[in-house]
């Protein structure tokens, strides 16, 4: 670095900085295990490739939201705008034979979504969380209306007749979804590695400082708005690629890619998994999809009820305990074989009781957390001793 030449007293600092970035960039065991497990699903779960593809796509989508919410602190209720835009761009490119090769089309969709993200990023720069919520929501709704009205998008019928060429000219999409899954997984992995580089770079750190305190960040010389525009654009590109992947895998694009529920669901996945460490969105996507798949089998079309319950509980009792409580309520309803009607009554009554009892429940959960932490510490200490 050129800085060291002029100010030699800065050299140790620069060294330390470099070392800290290197430490951040190192892959740990859990990360490697995560990706090996993902790779193993290709061979171990051949019958589940369709849902796995969907999970990989949602994971990418959630990852993209994590970039702006978890790292830059931008609350968005309209992230589906970019997902849907990418989905339609990919569909139109394939349907009208403009770019036939899927990987190139994917790139094109990502770039197109990035363009949209860049343009709309200026709308989210200023104002409070609330203004951002409204503006992002508004942008997504406007896009949905456009897709609904235009001829080229097929309106409410969706974009039909999308036929995909083989990936890279070699790997044709098969009916079992194996190609689609491997393809989606590779895209997810590549984009994850790039995102990992981004968030562990000085740029990523500066984003975190903006999120922590934007006024202070600007005081230490960070160009706050520039950073926000950049990360919003990158996240839009990621979401666009995720949407394009969905179109390519399903050979179809409909208005549902721009639905409000899609924006809400992806935020949910991210919250379930936790923000600000990249894996949260992916873990959340897996959990979300598995739970959704299960619930949709048990109570088709009403599964949002249980999802809502989980959200309410997670906010009231914290992420882990809330999810456990919601699962427990659902479990009781299932074990007692309550019909959905009775389940609603039972759940609503229980939620109200939990609301009243919250001041008494919180100390209990706090105590459990304490014990769990103590246990974790003692286990760690034992391992450390063995290591010596």
């Amino acid at each position: 670095m050129s800085v060291t030449g002029q100010h030699s007293d800065l050299a140790p600092l620069v060294e330390r900085g470099r070392a800290s970035f290197a430490a951040r960039a190192r892959w740990n065991v859990l990360e490697v295990a995560f990706w090996l497990a993902a790779l193993a699903t290709v061979f171990l779960l051949p019958s589940k490739h369709l849902i796995l593809t969907e999970i990989a796509i949602l994971a990418l989508f959630a990852l993209s939201l994590d970039l702006i919410l978890g790292y830059a602190g931008i609350v968005s209720l309209g992230h589906a705008a970019f997902f849907g835009f990418g989905a339609y761009v990919a569909g139109i490119l394939a349907k009208y034979g403009i770019i036939k090769e899927p990987v190139l089309a994917l790139l094109a969709s990502g770039i197109a979504a990035a363009g949209l993200g860049f343009v709309t990023s200026f709308l989210v720069l200023r104002g409070s969380d609330l203004t951002r919520l409204m503006v992002t929501l508004g942008v997504a709704l406007v896009l949905r209306e456009i897709a609904n009205q235009l001829e080229i998008t097929g309106g409410a019928d969706g974009l039909q007749g999308v036929v995909m060429e083989p990936v890279l000219g070699h790997f044709a999409f098969d009916i079992f979804g194996k190609t689609a899954y491997v393809y989606s997984l590779i895209v997810l992995f590549v984009l994850f590695v790039i995102a990992r580089r981004i968030v562990n770079s000085p740029f990523g750190l500066s984003l975190r400082s903006v999120r922590g305190n934007s006024l202070r960040a600007s005081a230490i010389g960070i160009h706050v708005n520039g950073r926000l525009v950049a990360v919003y654009t990158i996240a839009a590109a990621y979401a666009g690629v995720a949407g394009a992947l969905l179109t390519q895998a399903t050979q179809f694009a409909s208005l549902s890619v721009l639905d409000f529920e899609r924006s809400a669901d992806v935020m949910l996945m991210l919250i379930i998994g936790g923000t600000g460490y990249l894996y949260g969105g992916m873990i959340g996507a897996v959990l979300f999809k598995v739970v959704q798949d299960y619930l949709a089998n048990v109570t088709p079309q009403y599964w949002h009820f249980w999802l809502g319950l989980m959200l309410v509980m997670m906010i009231m009792f914290g992420r882990v305990y809330g999810a456990i409580i919601a699962a427990a309520i659902f479990g009781i309803c299932t074990i007692l074989k309550l019909g959905f009607m009775h389940s609603i009554i039972f759940t609503v009554a229980l939620v109200l009781v939990m609301g009243i009892a919250r001041p008494h429940i919180l100390p209990i959960t706090a105590k459990i957390t304490e014990h769990a932490n103590a246990l974790q510490r003692s286990v760690r200490a034992r391992f450390a001793r063995k290591g010596e």
């Binding site: 609350v75 609330l130 929501l137 508004g138 809502g308 989980m310 959200l311 906010i315 609603i344 609301g355």
Partner: protein
Amino acid sequence: MLTILFDGIAYGMLLFVVACGLAVTLGLMNFVNLAHGAFAMAGGYITVILVNRLGLPFLASLPLAFVLTAAIGVVLERTLYVHVYARTHLEQVLFTIGLVFMSVAAVDYVMGSQQQFVSIPSYLQGQINLFGIGIGRYRLLIIVICGLLTIALQFSLAKTRFGSRLRAAVDDARVARGLGINVNAVFAVTFAVGSGLAGLGGALGAEIIGLDPNFPLKFMIYFLIVVTVGGTSSITGPFIASLVLGIGDVFGKYYVPQFGAFIIYIIMIVVLIWRPQGLFSRAVAK
């Protein structure tokens, strides 16, 4: 032309009655309640049950819709919402979206996913001719009811003791508490009235804007727009915003149906860009 204007005014008035509760919770109490539409839906379905199944007269069911929705509101406020007031906006959004999901699924199951209609008594159907303008009787009723409500609201916020307590509690809850104002009770009552008004609006609006289980999601943006565009410093802001939104929406859908839905979103985005800080200056200052 004037008939459309009249329809627009009725629609705007309706929006105002539903959204003014949100204006208080969102604007004054700084709480993002995306579930506000769910209360309007509750009011609508209560009316449907009372009128269509129990055979109550329509006009008698309106106050009941108000009271019952307000009761639901106060129960939820005391048991659930009260834990979320001090949280971040993101958590409030997630919490209330959760409530919306639950209410949508539950209503879908209990009442069915089809659109519901309230049987309006015959003396409220049809049009009357006033100075050569065709005026729907039902819409006239809406305008009268909503107009009276607006005046009552404005009066109670600006002139009564409760109104000044509420304003004090909102400006600085701690100092208000120090002055002996029971802030929690004030918020609870306000929340109840807001929910009740939403319920009444939902009941009145079932005929005009439709009622189905997706109501809270479909109209969430409308209510938010009223509050965002109208600002929160007074009740007149949301009122004017509702009227503009209602008239704009009706005109848009009538004259340029293919762009009808854009207009409101674009108005919203333009206003938000034009005055991004000013609209929520209160929230930011806190």
